[in-house]
């Protein structure tokens, strides 16, 4: 078992964003996590990665309880999240953004980082990741100056630079045009085939159903359905959940 979110719950004031959700992901899986706007997908990912501490429930990564483990420790362990709302280091170039992650072994301890100046290996690795994501043309542009689609892919590159074993992607395809989205979706499949376990939150249903082998549908903070994409998408309750939130279907997201 790669990841196990066990009976997770959290409420913000009166809003019960996630209620009693259990999510199990086997090593090597590519799971699609879908649901209408406000279903609790982002909140669930945040609970899993430690950005939020659950009111109840626990999280295990590779059979170790990490419920109280800090975000950066989880990232160092190979358990990485990319944010739905892009979080670039704004004044760094795209290349530098990815470099900082590529040097994670050097920045792990501040005093070690103080005596480490060699940047070439991190730079080379960062550049090849930008190429892989198809955004090397903007490598030297400051992050605050590039379009959203570039930042979305830079975040994936930055996450990959950490050498993750488990990657949680929150709407990586948002802000990409049709061909860019297809290309990134193909890359996600390729990464998964290369051994990275992936949980993918996406509103682009045609791409998720195409690449995910299992779907989990969240609705009102609870798991509504789960199973093979084709079966799940034809279920009446799933369709109703989406229809009840009509603007959600295919809506563009940042």
């Amino acid at each position: 078992m790669m990841l196990e979110g066990n009976r997770l719950s959290i409420a913000f004031g009166g809003v019960r964003a996630v209620t009693d959700v259990t999510l199990r992901v086997e090593r090597g899986e590519l799971v699609g996590l879908i649901g209408p706007n406000g279903a609790g997908k982002t909140t669930l990912l945040r609970l899993l990665t430690g950005v939020l501490v659950p009111d109840a429930g626990s999280v295990a990564f590779e059979a170790r309880d990490v419920t109280r483990t800090s975000i950066h420790r989880r990232a160092q362990m190979g358990f990485v999240l990319t944010h739905q709302i892009v979080r670039p280091f704004r004044d760094m170039s795209l290349l530098e953004n990815v470099m900082v992650a590529a040097a994670a072994n050097l920045t792990r301890r501040p005093w070690r980082a103080l005596v480490a100046v060699e940047a070439q290996p991190a730079r080379a690795r960062a550049r090849s990741l930008l190429e892989r994501l198809g955004i090397a043309d903007a490598a030297d542009k400051p992050a605050h100056s590039v379009p959203l689609g570039y930042l979305k892919r830079m975040q994936v590159a930055r996450a990959l630079a950490l050498g993750p074993r488990l990657l949680l992607l929150d709407e990586p395809l948002a802000g990409l045009n049709y061909s860019e989205a297809t290309r990134l979706a193909d890359l996600i499949v390729e990464l998964n085939a290369g051994g990275i376990t992936i949980v993918l939150v996406e509103h682009n249903l045609s791409e998720v159903t195409r690449i995910a082998r299992r779907l989990v549908v969240l609705h009102n903070g609870a798991v509504l359905a789960e199973g093979a994409p084709r079966e799940v998408m034809t279920r009446k309750d799933v369709r109703d959940a989406y229809l009840g939130n009509e603007p959600a279907v295919g809506a563009a997201h940042a």
Partner: protein, 286 residues
Amino acid sequence: MDYYLSVATFGALNVILALGLNLISGFCGQVSLGHAAFYGLGAYAAALCSVAGLPFPVAVVAGMLVAGIFGIVVGIAALRVREDFLAIVTMGVGFLFLGVVRKQQWLGAEMGIAKIPSPLDKWGYALLAIGAAVALVLLSLHVRRSWMGRAFGAVAQDEDAARSIGIDVAGYKIAAFFIGTAAAGLAGGIYAHMTQIIVPDAFNFIQSITILAMVVIGGIGSTLGVVAGAVLLTLMPEMFRFINDYKLLVYGTLLLAVMRFSPEGVAGLVRRLARTAQARGGRRPA
């Protein structure tokens, strides 16, 4: 000659203070409005050591460590509060320091500590201070190039993003506070022995704002800019005596003017001028 030596020594001490604060605020993005308190901690700790008969180098190192350790404590407090509130907390640290030393008899209360043994002559202190300032310039330039500097940049620009790529945000903040405040402690130790008398008011809020003004006017984040800022604000009150009486007003106005018209300070101004000059040169027919 003595006069110039003492101005040079104070200039060097200001460079040390400003570069220490620049490490905390410019590199790691943490506001501090109480930097003078660490200057004072270093001065008092070193003075007490020397008065107690410990050798000068031991006293100076003790001053550094005491300031650095309190810096770590403030760094830990910095983990718990939001950015805007950190300004208040660090300002509070400054007032707390003053409040405590003013009342403690064993610290001399309002009278401060006098008759601090002085092992060096004017030249000795000038060379020591300048040597320490140069060392701090080199350290700053090195940190900027090192992975510590890049990680500081990540923490300064987006803490959450930094965490999500495995950076120990807390550890880096504490490291920045330690280095920056230990530097202030070093300046304090040298200052105490040079003047042989220290009083609480030398480390008050105006002093904290003065150090901040050096950093901001020089160009926050830029090592050489901050050195320029420190030198400038050391010389200004020497040339225009009246400034001494209106420090808070003059520096406050300068601070606001820089933030309004050249947020990157002197360093940014120089960069802009260089760029314009280059552009002009480029347009001229060959």
